[in-house]
């Protein structure tokens, strides 16, 4: 689990108190004052280089299915070279925070988001985080020969053997219900090598053919599922939301962040 909080209105001690109930006892916690505000980092999978802070698990595989990881430092080298938009070069769950401006940039899959939970939003609001998930703009774009069955076969061809389903509903992550995530708490997330998990719902053909649902699942359900996976010490991967799929479904969900 990883917690990063950035606030313009809290002194370090006050921010620590505000976030304390999210932190586990054995975690190493750092708090510092940056140009963008007070920054608190706790947990693992965080890397800092100059003004940039990256959180997550970038992958080598463009399909975001093979759990072979790339170091977070690689992702930050890309950002240093090409600018913050280069975060899209890192498949997998990755979030980039600019400690100079406070702006956040996430990977295309949306696997690390700001969370749909009322407490996350409240926390975001309290802490002055202002970057919402990217808004999806639906662009109708179909190719006559495209078939969703073929696309699913292609996703499967890139996915290593998956393990058993992981029951993400067996514990209470939040007291607030998330209707978007609810259908996926059981029999939609499976174990994967490297201590990861993969999002592979039974109704993925329906999701891949409905642009509105595709956007809702990505923006609202996945952050919750990621949060629950992180409580189990796993990173959730979702190849059906990575760039090769995003760019060939029968519609386009353009990023307008």
């Amino acid at each position: 689990m990883t917690v990063v909080a950035l606030s313009r209105r809290h002194e370090p001690a006050a921010l620590l108190v505000e976030v304390a109930h999210h932190l586990l006892p054995h975690w190493e916690v750092s708090v510092e004052v940056t140009p963008a505000g007070t920054l608190l980092c706790a947990g693992s999978d965080i890397h800092r280089a100059d003004r940039w802070l990256a959180v997550g698990q970038p992958l080598d595989d463009p399909w975001g299915a093979d759990p072979l990881a790339r170091p977070l430092s690689d992702a930050l080298e890309d950002v240093d070279r090409f600018g913050p938009g280069a975060i899209v070069l890192s498949p997998g769950p990755v979030l980039l925070l600019d400690t100079l401006t406070g702006h956040a940039h996430r990977s295309l899959s949306g696997l690390v988001g700001f969370g749909p939970h009322p407490d996350d939003l409240q926390l975001s609001s309290t802490l002055g985080q202002s970057s919402p998930p990217p808004r999806a703009q639906i662009i109708e774009d179909s190719s006559p020969a495209f078939s969703v069955e073929g696309l699913m076969a292609e996703i499967e061809a890139h996915t290593p053997t998956v393990g058993d389903p992981i029951d993400l509903g067996a514990f209470t992550a939040h007291p607030w219900p998330n209707p978007e995530a609810e259908p996926f708490l059981r029999d939609a997330v499976y174990g994967l090598g490297g201590g990861h998990a993969i999002f592979r719902p039974h109704d993925r053909s329906d999701i891949l053919t409905d642009p509105h649902r595709y956007g809702r699942v990505r923006d609202l359900a996945l952050p919750e599922l990621q949060y629950r996976c992180r409580l189990l010490g796993r990173w959730l991967l979702a190849p059906m939301f990575e760039r090769p799929v995003l760019d060939q479904v029968g519609f386009a969900v353009a990023e307008t962040q």
């Binding site: 006559p144 495209f146 353009a254």
Partner: protein, 362 residues
């Protein structure tokens, strides 16, 4: 007596695209070696009429018109029917049976992966062919997978001299000058993978490494791609001018620094490049080319002027283009090699190589 060859084909010049261009170049290049008659459903345009090409409508029209050529064909003891598309194979074999003529087939790529039973049945006739000639190792492998014996199949790279004007020597870029990229592609299928170029340019333009991507070509996806360009904030960087004539295309190519060709192998469409003639057109115009390393494109790209990348790997695209931005010596070396390579292309040699393989003399 000169060998007579009846070519039955849906596609032919003056249609645009790789297959019509290839077929017409083979016929033009080998007129002295064989007496051709082409039966095609491709419509004529002013300046393209000839006795050699008989134009009709639809597959039934091709069947009727091809049958009317039987006397012409049988007048020569040395004769051959060439099916210009695998799905015309049953028709070619029927005429071949009735006229006692061998049948060879030219095969390209996508059509070798059947989607329907009718297509599967048509492909079954390939096993009865005298020769099956393809345009890449990838397509040749597909033909062999369909049961055609390897000794009766072969491939010839369709390396043709481009129709546009000969390029000047490449110019050296200024030290801070960003790259101008160009691609030529049909905007009909998703497997052309144009989006990976848009996303790569989005990253590279933001850091001042690329100033322009020109996507030459037209098709039903053009409007959607234009919308994506606008939604991703790339209107100042990406242009989609549509189909261009040779003169305008030459101008755009001469103004570019790097060619890009992003096609992928898409299971979702059963789509891939049989060869990628455009890759070689880009090179022949004196451009280094960044190419998706898959299917027939792999055979079209030459190491002296191409950087091959995994087509789905956005990061690989960005790093390859950036490499050409950062290393102007490398870009110039590749551009010069591409121009030199392009100047030695000879459509006559290519046509004769195809003819030799189709007849079995190769």
């Amino acid at each position: 007596m000169t060998q007579r060859i009846l070519l039955v084909t849906v596609d032919y010049a003056p249609q645009t695209g790789g297959v019509p261009l290839l077929l017409s170049r083979i016929v033009e290049a080998t007129r002295g070696d064989a007496d051709w008659r082409v039966v095609t459903a491709a419509p004529a345009e002013s300046g393209h009429e000839s006795d050699e090409v008989v134009r009709t409508h639809g597959v039934l029209g091709i069947a009727r018109t091809a049958w009317r050529q039987r006397r012409w064909l049988r007048a020569s003891p040395d004769r051959l029917i060439v099916s210009g598309h695998v799905y015309l194979g049953p028709l070619a074999h029927l005429i071949g049976l009735l006229t006692r003529t061998r049948v060879s087939t030219l095969a390209y790529g996508r059509e070798l992966v059947p989607e329907r039973l009718r297509q599967r049945l048509a492909l079954a006739t390939l096993k009865r062919d005298h020769r099956v000639v393809t345009i890449s190792q990838h397509s040749s492998d597909l033909v062999n997978d369909l049961g055609v014996a390897s000794e009766r199949s072969s491939w010839v790279a369709p390396e043709m001299a481009p129709g546009f004007v000969e390029p000047a020597m490449p110019d050296r870029r200024g030290p801070t000058e960003p790259l101008r990229l160009i691609t030529i592609t049909r905007l009909a299928e998703g497997y052309k993978n144009v989006e990976v170029l848009l996303r790569a340019v989005s990253v590279l333009a933001a850091s001042g490494r690329v100033s322009c991507l020109t996507i030459v070509g037209d098709g039903p996806r053009r409007a959607a791609l234009q919308q994506k360009v606008e939604a991703w904030g790339l209107s100042d960087v990406v242009e989609l001018p549509g189909q261009l004539d040779d003169s305008e295309l030459s101008t755009r190519l001469a103004a570019s620094h790097v060619g890009v060709f992003s096609s992928r192998h898409a299971l979702a469409e059963g789509g891939f490049e049989g060869f990628g003639i455009v890759i070689q057109e880009l090179a022949a115009s004196g451009l280094p080319v960044v190419v998706g390393d898959v299917a027939g494109a792999r055979d079209a790209a030459r190491s002296q002027w191409a950087l091959k990348v995994a087509p789905d790997d956005l990061r690989a695209w960005v790093l390859a283009i950036d490499r050409l931005h950062e290393d102007e010596d490398l870009r110039m070396d590749m551009a010069t090699a591409a121009r030199t390579w392009g100047r030695q292309l000879d459509s006559t040699d290519m046509g004769q190589a195809f003819l030799a393989e189709l007849t079995g003399a190769g």
